[in-house]
Amino acid sequence: MCAHTVRVALRKIEGVESADVSLKQGVATVRFKPDNRIAVDQIRDVVRSNGFTPKAAEVRIRGSVIEEKGELLLAVPGRDQVYHLGRDPNAPAAIERLRQVAGREVIIEGTAPEAAKGQARVEPIRVRSVSDVIKR
């Protein structure tokens, strides 16, 4: 198993536009097609099944911000993908911005922390920036 194996496996996933793996940098960079239904965990499962351990990831995700019982989520009605959103200590203003755009569709950038071993709870994505979706 090597970088090539992971790269091929990632490119095989439906909805992946491109995938590159650098073992020197220890990073797999994946770009996705519009309207894909891929979840962060799906990519991590492929990395894991090819013999590597997935750590934290930098992600850019488009979706609708929902505030539910004080929690911020990124979701779309009718789909089962929901990302919990949290505060990035280095960008505390981003979480306030999220509350302001609740109900709107945005693009968020942030860090998806490494999944804690044996914990069912998904760690929130630490949001660094929020930007509006430019309608075509």
Binding site: A28, V30, I43, A57, G63, R79, Y83
Partner: protein, 34 residues
């Protein structure tokens, strides 16, 4: 007739935006494989 038209407009405005919650890019740090 006018009443029907108005009802339709309201319904359209309530349809949620289903453009999609999508991953656009991911830089996954990987570790392992000696």
């Amino acid at each position: 007739m006018l009443r029907l038209t108005l009802s339709f407009s309201i319904l359209v405005s309530l349809v949620p935006n289903v453009a999609g919650a999508q991953l656009q890019e991911m830089r996954q740090t990987i570790f392992g494989m000696d």
